[in-house]
């Protein structure tokens, strides 16, 4: 029964391998790839409901009982992220069909997107630390290829930085794994949590916790984000949207897993995360306001939201976890839409600086209004999706009296609003610079994925009530790690 848990990872891998052999048949590749991600989303939705009814799901590979074997653990938090990741990547694939050239498509574009999705889903679902490393690497290797596919000069240049920084981060990841195996003698995350609780989180374990904090901060872009704006603005729009929507979220997920399950006994770590989140939000706002390249602005918006989601971890109460879950989901959808819109504007006008563009709303009203809607959603204005997450994180901050975090995180929303409003006012309003005869035709197939994502944003805002039981489950598991541990290794080891 629980075998279904492996499908969100194994489906994309298998179909990806098959697609490698179907290289000349682009149409087949397109259909199969989008069907695969949609099927994974459906499986994730089913599992999510199953977890709500029957508790956390677990799959022991080869029937090796934990803590001896590798296993997949599906709790609501992970499964929500799998669901949204698969749904968003299906929609981004629709955009990729319309915009990716045939030369890129025949260079195994779709298989690599599927491998990326597989790596992301695997990272969310795994219950083993080393398996997490492997899934990270699957995701990263696919992203290296997608970033450099096409071989433009900026792509290659940013590709080198991106690969090297990730090689280094993976090195630190292995370092952390080696230390934790040396100290605790296990790699099963729930078992590690039990042993940390037994031995007490002394200086040695706190050091290991800091190593993991560095690793996942590099991946998530928490403070150590210097590589992010460059490498997220280099690749083609569809790939950039996939990166912006999925990759940093995996790092955030790993941070949440680490610091709500394993290293929960030392409050200093949460203080450090809080400070890092504040610095990230401030620096992200400065970056978003400093640049005039639309793609850079959008990339810096990713960084601000990373800081914002991690304030939820720094506060670490049930209600803040609820807010963070809502906001993570919202952020995956809205960042995908924002990246697609920015890429569409650059494609339609052929320019990337917002002060060189104006009056676009007359030429392309749909793009203009969708941009406006996304801006409101990201700034957290009701009834769109960002609102509910921000409110819950704010409630958590008031509950624990973290007023500095509260102030900075809400001021960062104003920074977001200002940076995007500047783009909107300059490029969409004012004198139109493109006459109706010169304007590039706006194809319906580019519009469709944009509208779909916008519908998701509005739907998540209005239908938050529908999601709330699952979000509640996710927050409960995060706030009470015993649930997770009990589901994995039973009561006897507690």
């Amino acid at each position: 029964m629980n075998n279904i848990l492996v499908l969100p990872m194994i489906l994309p891998v298998l179909v990806g391998v098959i697609l490698v052999f179907l290289r000349p048949y682009i149409r087949v590749q397109r259909v199969l790839s989008v069907l695969t991600t949609m099927a994974s989303a459906a499986v994730a939705a089913y599992c999510l409901h199953h977890i709500h009814l029957n508790g956390i799901m677990r799959l022991d590979f080869g029937d090796w009982l934990p803590p001896h074997g590798i296993l997949f653990v599906g709790d609501s938090f992970a499964m929500l992220l799998v669901l949204v990741a698969c749904a968003v990547s299906s929609i981004i694939l629709l955009y990729a069909f319309a915009t990716t050239g045939i030369e890129t498509e025949t260079m195994f574009f779709y298989p690599f997107i599927l491998f990326l999705v597989a790596g992301v889903n695997g990272s969310f679902l795994t219950g083993d630390l080393f398996n997490l490393f492997v899934c990270f690497e699957v995701m990263l290797l696919a992203s290296y290829v997608l970033l450099t596919l096409g071989g433009r000069k900026t792509q290659l240049k940013e590709g080198i930085t991106y690969v090297l920084i990730n090689v280094l981060a993976s090195w630190f990841f292995l370092l952390g794994i080696a230390y934790i195996y040396g100290v605790l003698g296990t790699l099963n995350m729930a078992h590690i949590a039990v042993r940390v609780a037994e031995t007490g989180q002394g200086p040695l374990l706190t050091l290991i916790a800091i190593i993991f904090l560095i690793v996942f901060s590099l991946k998530a872009g928490l403070l150590l984000y210097f590589w992010l704006p460059g490498s997220y603005s280099a690749p083609p729009t569809a790939v950039a949207a996939l990166f912006g929507a999925l990759l940093t979220k995996v790092g955030i997920y790993a941070l949440y897993r680490m610091f709500t399950l394993i290293f929960i006994h030392d409050p200093v770590i949460y203080k450090i995360i809080g400070v890092l989140a504040i610095v990230t939000m401030v620096a992200g706002c400065l970056g978003a306001i400093a640049y005039s390249d639309i793609r850079q602005i959008v990339s810096y918006n990713v960084i601000i939201s990373v800081g914002f989601v991690l304030t939820g971890l720094a506060i670490a109460t049930n209600i803040a976890f609820q807010g963070a879950s809502y906001y993570l989901i919202h952020d995956m959808i809205s960042k995908a839409l924002l990246f697609l819109l920015a890429g569409t504007v650059v494609y339609l006008t052929g320019r990337s600086k917002f002060n060189e563009i104006s009056g676009l709303i007359r030429n392309y009203p749909l793009v203009g209004w969708l941009f406006f809607l996304t801006m409101l959603a990201i700034a957290g204005i009701p009834p769109f999706s960002g609102f509910i997450g921000k409110v819950y994180i704010g409630l958590g901050a008031i509950e624990t009296g973290s007023y500095v975090l509260l102030a900075v995180s809400f001021l960062s929303s104003i920074g977001v609003l200002y940076s995007l409003l500047r783009v909107f006012l300059n490029s969409f309003w004012g004198e139109t610079i493109i006459s109706e005869d010169d304007q590039k035709p706006f194809q319906k197939k580019i519009g469709l994925p944009l509208v779909l994502l916008a519908v998701l944003i509005v739907g998540l805002g209005i239908g938050a009530e529908l999601l709330s039981p699952y979000i509640q489950d996710a927050a409960d598991t995060l706030a009470d790690p015993k649930q997770y541990i009990r589901a994995v290794i039973g009561d006897d080891l507690e």
Partner: protein, 110 residues
């Protein structure tokens, strides 16, 4: 024995970091390769070095070698092999595009 290997790991890390900080692309790639060797050795050492018997656990076995670090290293080696191969191809492409040896020169505005 463990101390000796840990010292060796330290030396390898020092060499790897030195190479990683240079401007020459090939040296950087070699640096990442050496760094990954260092971490593999560390993984092995952290699992405890060979204690004198096969990695089989029976009811009566008093001594056995921990097989898990070896499995971890095998996986990590394969991954670092793939990444190194990718980096080599990437730097060759940069060489083809720019027409000169791949060197990291930073950005104009930084």
């Amino acid at each position: 024995m463990e101390t000796l290997i840990t010292l060796l790991v330290g030396v390898l890390v020092a060499v790897g970091v030195y190479l990683l900080l240079s401007k020459e692309m090939l040296r950087i790639i070699l640096g990442t390769a050496i760094l990954s060797h260092a971490i593999h050795l560390l993984l092995l050492t952290m699992g405890g070095l060979k204690k004198g018997d096969v990695p089989l656990l029976t009811e009566t076995a008093a001594e056995y070698t921990d097989a898990l670090p070896q499995a971890l290293i095998l996986t990590a080696i394969v991954i670092s092999f793939a990444v190194t191969a990718f980096l080599l191809v990437l730097s060759y492409r940069v060489y083809q595009e720019s027409g000169r040896g791949p060197r990291l020169r930073g950005r104009q505005d930084e």
